[in-house]
Symmetry: C2
Amino acid sequence: MRISQPTVRRLSVYLRQLEQLSEEGYETVSSSLLAEMSAVKATQLRKDLSYFGSFGVRGIGYSVRELSNRIAKILGLDESWNAVLIGAGSLGTALSAYREFHRHNIRFVGVLDNDPAKVGKRISGIEVKPLGQLETIRKSENARIAVIAVPAAAAQAVADFIVDAGYRGIVNFAPIRLKIPEEIAYYAVDLAMAFESVTFQLTGNVLSEEG
Amino acid sequence: MRISQPTVRRLSVYLRQLEQLSEEGYETVSSSLLAEMSAVKATQLRKDLSYFGSFGVRGIGYSVRELSNRIAKILGLDESWNAVLIGAGSLGTALSAYREFHRHNIRFVGVLDNDPAKVGKRISGIEVKPLGQLETIRKSENARIAVIAVPAAAAQAVADFIVDAGYRGIVNFAPIRLKIPEEIAYYAVDLAMAFESVTFQLTGNVLSEEG
DNA sequence: TTATGTGAACCGGTTCACAGCT
DNA sequence: AGCTGTGAACCGGTTCACATAA
């Protein structure tokens, strides 16, 4: 099926809330409670889930554990994903140390950088290797995702190299639009955009919807 | 006027492309070229701009410099914004060192952390202070924005403290939904969500629109 | 009675078609 | 003629209303 980006983002949010409910000892949850925690309408939540099946019990609600597993599976988090990180600067270092990824079955199995001063050093326990190792590492470590954390000027060249090396997915943190082939799964995180949204609002403008 | 979140995000993208055009020596640009660079339709771009005025010349296009200035002003980037960073961990350190913010008139004037082991250290040239200094720094440095880069478990308490200290905008990097008063400008960056979008696509799903 | 699941109605953001300037 | 600016048409995502099941 053809799913919208907002729906996928909300699934991530639901999953996060379910994990919290689970920690707090909840065994079941209604669409209205989970929706409120996720800052969406209950019908929105039920519609989102309906694209993938029916996971609840009428009159009762959802099993926290089961729904959590189902959403994790929908997002592909039931299997583990090996990823490499390109760029051993401060952002790359931060990402490699970020615990949240590990919880979601995403593991960094390689860190690469073309700066000779960085090659050979260890970051979060992983030895930094030159960019030329991209394909070798993909094969030896079964890596499928590459994360771009290099300066904007280098990002497109790195992206092309990643695609040539046979990676299937790219997460880009460089503040630049990349040309990536259709068949590669792609997501861009623009950090400056986050600030610009806030300064925009603080300059007297009002956003429609979502606070 | 009431502007949609997608429009604001696109304005950020246009601005980034205009800066690139400017570096490459372009003096004017048509909506179709700028739109193509931004991966949107030309009519979308013109409609986005039309919410704020008419900045082009019919038959010619847009002055790169002028449009750049106008969008920067719309986003509030014509003035400078002082921000504090809460959380001196690896993510906080990376954010404080990120050059892109500085280019857009966003400056970190304080780094705070409640971990006694971190207080007193210097991060990107700024001395780490205890969280209790939030309001003092806001006043002395004229800071308006606070950036949350602490673990999820601590984020809501930090957010409440930020609001009490009189900050007007919050950018949140903790992977948790925060309850924030209506009147505070708010934007959340969810890093795990980026990966989940990619693993979702790699699990055989197709997103509608935008590659 | 309570809460899910879903076709239908609705709405707002996107795209179209063309009027308006240069 | 060329390209912008914009009301109108369109479309897809959200919300509603209610059938369905426990």
